[in-house]
């Protein structure tokens, strides 16, 4: 077996374990390339049957329209159930403070919505597209990652995970986050997208965009949520997105790559990591991801 076959087989095996072990699983779907791969893998794992879980989108309200269109299109194509819960509504219901500052990200706030939707539908497993190569706290997480009733990850109390025998037993109220593509790198994902001819939202490919240049030199999309100041530098560049997330904290990268092949060449050459290039939220501190996960982030 080729390495992509092995990675695919591992992911399908994990998805089927989720189907076999849990009563009420869900697949977290953001419309980003990693969760798009998960949907593709789920089709391979369960067709001609239905998915044994709904797709769940935690909608920050800070989405790229292209991604929302893609989401609705794929859901209607595959005919599976989609549950949408909006961070906007959580803010109102829980009387929360919305993101503040120049780039008012809802990255932290989406954890509330995620935990609420888990409680509402009593999900006992949530499948996510996180990869261990993304960030070093993620590199430490198990494929079946047990969370307590507050959704918290305790890195010191992780269950041993031996061979590919997955123990998904939890008490009522607890849940397991499952990461079938844990062992994939960014490049593996792109090579898989190429091999399987998977369609992606258009913002992954080069396009002209008006951007604001941040202090760190990152290119931020101009939208109604960020605050523009008089002395901001605004430029028009050929850009694409390496990750798709909250519009206020996900930066674009300069690129003229218009096909999957060109993107693969670009990633092979590039010297900056995926999250380093695009995420403002991880730059906050050395342990930013670890801390968010301890609080229930996916």
């Amino acid at each position: 077996m080729d390495y992509l076959d092995q990675l695919e087989a591992e992911a399908i095996y994990i998805l089927r374990e989720v189907a076999g072990q849990f009563d009420r699983p869900a697949l977290l779907f953001s419309g980003g390339k990693d969760s798009i791969c998960l949907v593709h893998l789920a089709l391979k794992a369960f067709r001609p049957g239905k998915f044994p879980f709904p797709l769940v989108h935690v909608d920050t309200g800070h989405n790229f329209q292209e991604v929302l269109n893609y989401r609705d299109q794929i859901v209607s194509e595959i005919g599976e159930k989609l549950i949408i819960r909006k961070v906007e509504d959580t803010i109102i219901q829980r009387n929360l403070q919305d993101g503040k500052g120049k780039f008012p990200s809802r990255n932290v706030l989406q954890t509330y919505t995620l935990l609420d939707v888990i409680e509402e539908f009593e999900f006992d497993a949530c499948i996510g597209g996180a990869r261990r190569d993304e960030e070093k706290a993620r590199a430490k997480e198990r494929i079946f990652s047990v969370r307590d009733e507050f959704g918290q990850w305790d890195p010191k109390k992780q269950r041993p995970e031996i061979w590919d025998i997955y123990n998904g037993r939890v008490d009522k109220g607890e849940n397991v986050r499952v990461f079938p593509i844990s062992n994939w790198t960014e490049l593996d994902v792109w090579n898989y997208i190429k091999r399987e001819k998977i369609e992606l939202p258009s913002i992954y490919f080069t396009h002209k965009r008006d951007c604001l240049i941040t202090e760190n030199g990152q290119l931020m999309n101009i939208n109604q949520f960020i605050q523009l100041d008089e002395n901001d530098t605004i430029v028009t560049r050929n850009v694409r997105y390496r990750t798709v997330g909250d519009m206020t904290c996900t930066a674009a990268v300069e690129s003229v790559a218009s096909s999957v092949d060109e993107i693969i060449d670009e990633i092979t050459e590039t010297k900056i990591s995926e999250r380093g290039a695009t995420r403002m939220d991880d730059r906050a501190s050395e342990a930013a991801m670890e801390d968010r996960k301890k609080n229930g982030y996916f």
Partner: protein, 414 residues
């Protein structure tokens, strides 16, 4: 391109994390932004000249604070020849269960020995675990050669001692490389100071080592993970058994036996990726259709009818105890082998494995965290299994505490 999974183990301070850091750094697998963060951290930690490469894998706050590896960290890199998955496992005795986790799925063990100290208790423990997990190949990296003036005698002595110790473990292949991870000698670049060594660097070794992708077992084994029944109008009678082939090959038309049912039937159809295929091999996720409507469910084992498998509810095994709480007599457990589960108890502790001599010692007392024991397990239902030495997929299991849901032990069937 092929995939090689390996793990690294060694004593605390043997320089494991540094070695991996060096491997990634010298093979240019580290991004500039990560390197930048690393340089900053190393400076604030008091490393003036060199960057502290161990900071690359110690991803948790507690690990950075204490300067030790607590849990397995997975790292990935690709060369022109191969894709690698590294499990960097903790050296500290109290985190041995995490080492078990990292090691279980790999094809190769890299064990570090500090050239100044030679073989230690941890070296022995890690080697015994490697042997217990039947990992086919061990590479011993004798590290910190710079601190023994790159002397050949030191390396040769360690090699001799290790081979003598490892003999009873039954490891198929053992290799040795003298390195200095801190300075990078023989990691990616050939050392000029170790000119008496004629072998390959670690990097060349990894790119070229033969991957013994199991299966020592040629027998065909399949276990059902999930039953697919669309129950739609056009697929009214569709009933597919989804799972991955554990070992061997299955073909359309094969006569097969199903356990624990102990019934025979024929494979009517095999589907892979939504397409019908004539045959499928170990590791491939497939859907099997059977000619007869039998009571087959998750955890059922399927094999060719002319092959045999053990079916028993009395099992002898070596287990590694992984729970903080020691084993209590009569403790209610769940036995899980891939997708098969059954209630179980440990009927008898036959003995503990002495990690110095690899001998089984009859002993009094409880099974404590990290101890290896030979036990006799009784399950509520019959298990279909092979000995682990024969088949790593059907001979492996975990034990779960029914009350806490924790995985309390990993076991290999003897």
């Amino acid at each position: 391109m092929k995939l090689l999974r390996f793990f690294t183990a060694g004593n605390v301070d043997d320089g494991k994390s540094t070695l991996i850091g060096r491997l990634l750094y010298d093979s240019k697998s580290i991004s500039t932004d990560i390197l930048e963060t690393l340089t900053k951290q190393s400076k604030s930690a008091g490393f003036n000249t060199e960057i502290d490469l161990a900071l690359l894998t110690d991803g948790l706050r507690a690990e950075r604070e204490q300067g030790i590896t607590i849990d397995v960290a997975y790292k990935y890199f690709t060369t022109d020849k191969r894709k690698f998955i590294i499990a960097d496992t903790p050296g500290h005795a109290q985190y041995t269960r995490n080492m078990f986790t990292g090691a279980s799925n790999t094809d190769l063990a890299i064990i570090l020995i500090d050239a100044r100290n030679g073989i230690t208790e941890q070296t022995k423990r890690h080697s015994i675990i490697t042997g217990t997990l039947a990992i086919p190949h061990i590479l011993i990296c004798v590290n910190k050669m710079d601190l023994v003036d790159f002397k050949e005698e030191v390396f040769e002595q360690i090699k001799k001692d290790y081979l003598a110790f490892a003999e009873p473990l039954g490891i198929k292949k053992i290799s040795f490389i003298p390195v200095s991870a801190l300075a990078g000698d023989n990691v990616v670049n050939k050392s000029e100071k170790i000119n008496w060594y004629k072998g390959t660097t670690l990097f060349d070794f990894l790119e070229n080592v033969e991957i013994d992708h199991e299966e020592t077992s040629k027998e065909s084994r399949f276990q059902v993970q999930y039953v697919i029944r669309p129950q739609t109008d056009e697929l009214h009678d569709y009933r597919g058994y989804a799972g991955s082939i554990l070992s061997g090959t299955f073909r359309k038309g094969d006569k097969i036996s199903i356990y624990p049912l102990d019934s025979q039937t024929t494979i009517e159809k095999i589907e892979k990726n939504g397409l019908e295929v004539h045959e499928a091999h170990a590791g491939e996720p497939i859907i099997i259709h059977l000619s007869d409507d039998l009571d087959v469910s998750r955890g059922s084992t399927i094999l060719p009818f002319n092959q045999s498998i053990q079916n028993d509810n009395n099992i002898e095994a070596t287990i590694c105890w992984m729970d903080n709480k020691s084993f209590q007599n009569g403790q209610k457990l769940i036995f899980q082998q891939n997708s098969f589960t059954s209630k179980a108890v440990i009927k008898e502790v036959i003995g503990k494995i002495n990690i110095h001599s690899y001998k089984v010692e009859e002993g009094e007392g409880q099974i404590q965290l990290n101890e290896l024991c030979k036990v006799h397990i009784k399950t509520a239902e019959n298990v279909s299994f092979d000995s682990y030495k024969h088949n790593r997929k059907t001979g492996a299991f975990i034990l779960i505490n029914e009350n806490t849901n924790n995985t309390v032990a990993a076991g290999v069937i003897l």
